[in-house]
C-alpha cells in the first residue's frame, strides 16, 4: 500500500521538478492547489453562466495564446515583437482558406494543421532574416510591427472578386468567412461550438501553459534567459545566439498561430483589422500589465482586460464605449509607472520579501534567547 503512495509521490515530485524552477513564479504546493482550483472553476464555469458569457470567455482564451506567445519571447528571451498578431492573423486566414476549399471534417483537420504550419513558417522566415541579419532590440519591435501593418494594408485591398483562392474570397475589409473547428475524419465530425469549443480551448490553454513552464525551466529556458540578460556574453560560451532567438521566435509564432486558428473559428470570420495597429498593441498591453516574465500573469491580464473591454463596450452609465481603449491605456500607464515589471512579478517579489523578513526575524530572535541563557 505504502509503496504505491511513495511511487505516486515521487511521480508528482518529478513532474513538479520539471514544471518548477527559478524562471517561473509559483513553485509551491499552495500555488499548484490554487492553479487546480482555478482550472476547476473554469471547467465548472459553463454550468454556472449563460452560453453568451461562455462564448465571450472563449474569445479571451483564444487571445491568451497571443499573450503566452509574447510573454515567452519577450519575457524570457528579450525579443519584443509588436507583430505577434501577424502570425495569429496569417494562421486564421490560412485556416479559412483551406477550410472553405475542403469543407469536410478531414479538410478542416488539414486546415488546422496547415494553418499552424503556415503561421509558424512565416515566423521562422521573419525570424531568420531578422536574427541572422543582425536586427536587434528596438529594430525587431519596429520590423515586426511593420510586417503586421504591411499585411493589414495588403489584405485591405483584397475586396475584389479576383482576390479568391479557390472557394475562399479574401474579401478585403468585408472580411472572410471561416468554418468552425471540427474534429474527425471523413465528411463530418465533432463540430466544436459554444461549450464544446470552450472546453477544447481551455484544455489547449492548460497544455500550452504547462508545456511552456517545462520549457522555460529546462536548460533551454536558462539559455533563453542568458540571451535576454547578455547576448554577447552568452555567445562567448559557445552559444549560437541567432539560432536560439530563431527557435524562440518560431515557437512564439506557433503559439500565436494556434491562437489565430481558435480566434478565426470562434467568430467564423476574420478581417484585416487583425493586422491593424490597435489590435497589434493589445498583446503588448496585456503582457506588460500581467508581467512579461510571468506566463500566468500574461494570460490572466488578457482575460481580465478583455473582459473589461467587453463590459465597457456597451458603455457604463454616462461613459460611452469609446472610452474603453482610453481606460486600457490608462491602466497600462499606471502599471508601467508603479509596477514596471508587471502585476504578478511585483506581487510575487513583495510576498517573497515579506517571507524572508519574517524568516530573518525568526532567526534573529533565536540567538538573543541563547544570549540570555
Amino acid at each position: 500500500m505504502s509503496w504505491r503512495v511513495d511511487a505516486e509521490a515521487s511521480m508528482v515530485d518529478r513532474l513538479r521538478g520539471r514544471l518548477e524552477g527559478p524562471n517561473t513564479y509559483g513553485n509551491s504546493r499552495l500555488f499548484w492547489a490554487g492553479f487546480a482550483i482555478v482550472v476547476a472553476a473554469f471547467a465548472a464555469y459553463p454550468q454556472l453562466v449563460g452560453v453568451y458569457t461562455v462564448i465571450q470567455t472563449s474569445r479571451y482564451f483564444a487571445l491568451a495564446f497571443l499573450a503566452l506567445s509574447l510573454s515567452f519571447i519577450w519575457g524570457y528571451a528579450g525579443v519584443l515583437s509588436f507583430g505577434q498578431v501577424a502570425f495569429f492573423g496569417v494562421a486564421a486566414y490560412t485556416f479559412g482558406i483551406i477550410g472553405l476549399n475542403f469543407g469536410s471534417a478531414t479538410g478542416i483537420m488539414a486546415a488546422l494543421v496547415g494553418a499552424i504550419l503556415v503561421g509558424t513558417a512565416v515566423a521562422a522566415l521573419v525570424g531568420y532574416f531578422m536574427f541572422y541579419g543582425g536586427v536587434r532590440d528596438t529594430y525587431v519591435t519596429i520590423m515586426t510591427l511593420v510586417i503586421a501593418l504591411v499585411l493589414n494594408t495588403f489584405m485591405a485591398q483584397t475586396a475584389g472578386s479576383e482576390w479568391a483562392i479557390g472557394a475562399a474570397q479574401l474579401g478585403g475589409f468585408n472580411g472572410m468567412d471561416i468554418p468552425s473547428l471540427t474534429l474527425g475524419i471523413g465528411q463530418s465530425g465533432l463540430v466544436l461550438e459554444r461549450v464544446a469549443f470552450y472546453y477544447a480551448l481551455l484544455g489547449a490553454l492548460v497544455v500550452a501553459y504547462l508545456g511552456l513552464r517545462a520549457l522555460v525551466n529546462s536548460s533551454f529556458g536558462m539559455t533563453m534567459v542568458a540571451v535576454r540578460e547578455d547576448e554577447a556574453r552568452t555567445a562567448t560560451f559557445g552559444y549560437n545566439v541567432p539560432f536560439i532567438k530563431l527557435v524562440v521566435f518560431t515557437i512564439g509564432g506557433a503559439l500565436a498561430a494556434v491562437g489565430g486558428v481558435f480566434y478565426g473559428s470562434w467568430g467564423n470570420y476574420i478581417d484585416p483589422t487583425v493586422f491593424g495597429i490597435a489590435f497589434a498593441a493589445l498583446p503588448v498591453v496585456w503582457v506588460s500589465v500581467g508581467g512579461r516574465e510571468s506566463l500566468l500573469g500574461a494570460m490572466g491580464a488578457t482575460i481580465l482586460i478583455e473582459r473589461m473591454r467587453t463590459e465597457l463596450s456597451s458603455g457604463i452609465g454616462p461613459i460611452g464605449s469609446e472610452w474603453a481603449l482610453v481606460i486600457v491605456g490608462g491602466l497600462l500607464l499606471g502599471v508601467i509607472l508603479f509596477m514596471p515589471a508587471g502585476v504578478v512579478p511585483t506581487v510575487a517579489d513583495r510576498i517573497d520579501r515579506l517571507r524572508s523578513r519574517r524568516a530573518d526575524n525568526a532567526r534573529s530572535t533565536t540567538p538573543t534567547e541563547e544570549a540570555v541563557e
Binding site: 527559478p22 536558462m222 540578460e229 559557445g238 545566439v241
Partner: protein
C-alpha cells in the same frame, strides 16, 4: 618557435607534469587588424604551446585586447590567419571557436546580474557533458564563492564578479584560457587568490594567455612574457629577461615613440 627548452627547466615542477611540451596549440600568421588608418595589430606571429602560461604585456594601445578579440572572433582580421589545435579559426563564428576549446574572460566583468551565482555558472556548464553538480561545487570552491552561491550576481563586489567571470570561463574546461586583466581593481588578497587559482589550473595542464598591467601579478604567475608595442611583437622571453630589458622599460615609460 624560439621557446628554448632550457628555460622550462628552471620552472616550477608543475611544468614538468605537462611534459614541458612545446607542441603549439595556438598560432597566428601575419595577423593584422586595421581600424581605418590605424593598424592596431600589425603582422603578428604569436604562438602559445600546449599547457603554457603566457602573459601579454605592453603599453596602452599596444593591441593586446585587439589581439584577444581577433582570436575569439569578436573582430575579423584585416589579414592573416589564426590556428588553434589544428583548426583554422579564421572563418569560424565566435561561438564555433569556443567549441574548439577556447574560453575567454574579457576586460570588464559581464556577469548575468539578475541571475544567482550558481545560475551564472550553470549557463556555460550546461553546454558541456560534465557533471553539473560536481563541477558546480568544485568551481564555487575554486573561486571562493561557496557562501554566495544563491546570491544575485549583481549584488557581488567587483572582485567577486571578476572571480565569478573566471569561474564561468573555466566551467567549459578549455584547453586554452584567454584572460584580459583578470585582477583589475582587485585587492592584494584577491589578486593572490586569483594567482593561486590560475597556477593550480595551469598545473592541471590548462594553457593561458593573460593580458595584464600589474607586473607584480605577472611575476607571480608567468614564465613566458610577450611584449606588444604599437601592434607588433616587441620582445618575447622569460619574465626575468623582459624585466631587465632597457628597451621594454623605455616603452613602458613612454620614452620610445
Amino acid at each position: 618557435m624560439s621557446t628554448p627548452q632550457d628555460i622550462n627547466v628552471r620552472q616550477r615542477p608543475a611544468v614538468a607534469a605537462t611534459g614541458g611540451s612545446t607542441d603549439t596549440i595556438l598560432s597566428t600568421a601575419r595577423l593584422t587588424k586595421n581600424f581605418g588608418g590605424l593598424t592596431a595589430v600589425d603582422g603578428v606571429e604569436f604562438s602559445v604551446s600546449e599547457g603554457e602560461l603566457r602573459c601579454l604585456i605592453g603599453p596602452n594601445g599596444a593591441g593586446k585586447s585587439t589581439l584577444l578579440e581577433l582570436i575569439t572572433g569578436q573582430l575579423a582580421p584585416s589579414e592573416g590567419d589564426i590556428y588553434f589545435d589544428g583548426t583554422d579559426l579564421t572563418d569560424l563564428d565566435p561561438h564555433e571557436r569556443i567549441d574548439t576549446g577556447i574560453s575567454v574572460k574579457f576586460q570588464s566583468p559581464h556577469v548575468y546580474e539578475d541571475l544567482t551565482v550558481e545560475q551564472n555558472l550553470q549557463v556555460p556548464l550546461q553546454r558541456t557533458d560534465r557533471d553539473i553538480e560536481s563541477v558546480l561545487s568544485t568551481t564555487l570552491e575554486q573561486i571562493s564563492l561557496v557562501e554566495q552561491a544563491d546570491r544575485r550576481a549583481g549584488d557581488l563586489s567587483h572582485g567577486q564578479q571578476q572571480r565569478l567571470e573566471i569561474g564561468m570561463a573555466i566551467t567549459l574546461d578549455p584547453k586554452l584560457m584567454l584572460l584580459d586583466e583578470p585582477v583589475a581593481g582587485m585587492s592584494v588578497e584577491e589578486t593572490g587568490e586569483i594567482a593561486a587559482l590560475i597556477r593550480s589550473l595551469h598545473d592541471e595542464g590548462m594553457a593561458f594567455v593573460v593580458v595584464e598591467h600589474d607586473m607584480e601579478f605577472v611575476r607571480e604567475i608567468s614564465e613566458q612574457v610577450t611584449v606588444l608595442n604599437q601592434g607588433e611583437i616587441f620582445r618575447q622571453g622569460p619574465i626575468e629577461e623582459i624585466e631587465a630589458d632597457e628597451a621594454v622599460r623605455r616603452i613602458y615609460l613612454g620614452e620610445n615613440a
